[in-house]
Amino acid sequence: MAGLELLSDQGYRVDGRRAGELRKIQARMGVFAQADGSAYIEQGNTKALAVVYGPHEIRGSRSRALPDRALVNCQYSSATFSTGERKRRPHGDRKSCEMGLQLRQTFEAAILTQLHPRSQIDIYVQVLQADGGTYAACVNAATLAVLDAGIPMRDFVCACSAGFVDGTALADLSHVEEAAGGPQLALALLPASGQIALLEMDARLHEDHLEWVLEAAAQAARDVHTLLDRVVRQHVHEASILLGD
């Protein structure tokens, strides 16, 4: 049985993309009127929805309040119909908790939390369809939602995944490429300053190749930034027209 060829001799991937090419990204801000901020993003077939509430008073135990910063609370949930086989446990499993923690670390680096002491910012992300690169789609959707809510941020947070096959670094992996078992790296970047908000990989990769994979992911994140920048400007322009500025 012939194995699935992730990268052909001519340099095409399974879905016809080039090594460093991103999937088609479509995004919308202000999807829900009742939340403070919301956004929806589609990266290829991966669809994620992010909703932001805040900053508001700390709910629950007041002892968790930080005297000089806001508390960022992130929750990740993937729908039962998001994967090929129906998922049995949509909430509270290890992967969701870990994703929530990673999202929190990412956004604590970007949001200017000193401006809202003793308050809480909630970021809820829901994955509706998972076709690889779910962490990246969640971060990109959450960035747009935080912007929609008007919470001050240092910079955009743009994320992308990258892998390494046949000596070439691939950017923006789809589910087929992730399931093939090669090394995968997820990178969240603050594009203007080039600072890394989060870098995650749990596979084996030779250190000589790390630089190429990192560079591929960083370039892909910068490309995502160009796209998200355009979406945000479009949204702000439309909002100001609607309000008759």
Binding site: S119, L147, G150, V236
Partner: protein, 198 residues
């Protein structure tokens, strides 16, 4: 013809610190001013002082959530009282309504400026009263916002009597029900004459 509006996004470098001073919606780093919100860039020059730098700020169309700050006048509703303090829900900060209400506390010694130890909370506030107060502290790990009504212009603005009718203030410490003519004790706010409708 309106000048072209310039939109900016977070992380965009706006200008040098020598050309402007940072306002709301911006932050500074390495001698440059960056935007922290997605909105319209505004440059306002302080009128009067010529050598003051223009204030560079980013405005959004819909104002984001306002948090009560120390010294702000807030409008709140009393939710419960106790012999030592009254717990309130903060509804408005200045004249902006809040989407989610915050919790605040008015301690017994912060109700009045004079005779602080002789204050009885039961004779100053009742649950359901609308009170104008000032924020004195953001609170610490154990407490909510601390408020004070120890000024003439602060205190109960709207209160209902035991028969359910809105009462009329007659002095700084009493209000009267127009239906039953009973007087009830409250710490009444002295409303500015321009806000009174005659």
């Amino acid at each position: 013809m309106a000048p072209p509006v310039r939109y900016c996004v977070p992380g965009e470098r706006l200008c040098n610190l020598e050309e402007g001073s940072p306002g709301s919606g911006t932050y500074t780093r390495h001698g440059y001013i960056f935007s922290s919100l997605a909105g319209c860039l505004t440059k306002r020059s302080e009128n009067g002082a010529v050598k003051e730098l223009p204030v560079v700020s980013v405005m959004r169309e819909t104002e984001s959530q306002l948090l009560p700050d120390v010294g702000a006048i807030v409008t709140c509703k009393v939710s419960s009282i106790n012999s030592r303090f009254a717990k309130v829900h903060i509804l408005y900060v200045g004249s902006t309504p809040l989407k989610n209400s915050f919790r605040g506390t008015i301690r017994k010694e912060d109700v009045r400026a004079t005779e602080k130890d002789k204050v009885e909370i039961y004779k100053s506030f009742r649950p359901g009263d609308i009170v104008l107060a000032k924020v004195i502290s953001l609170g610490d790990a154990q407490s909510n916002y601390l408020l004070t009504t120890a000024e003439n212009e602060l205190g109960v603005v709207v209160a209902h009597s035991e028969s359910g009718v809105q009462m009329v203030p007659i002095s700084w410490c009493e209000m009267q029900c127009p239906k039953t003519h009973t007087k009830e004790f409250r710490k009444v706010a002295r409303v500015q004459p321009e806000f009174l409708q005659t």
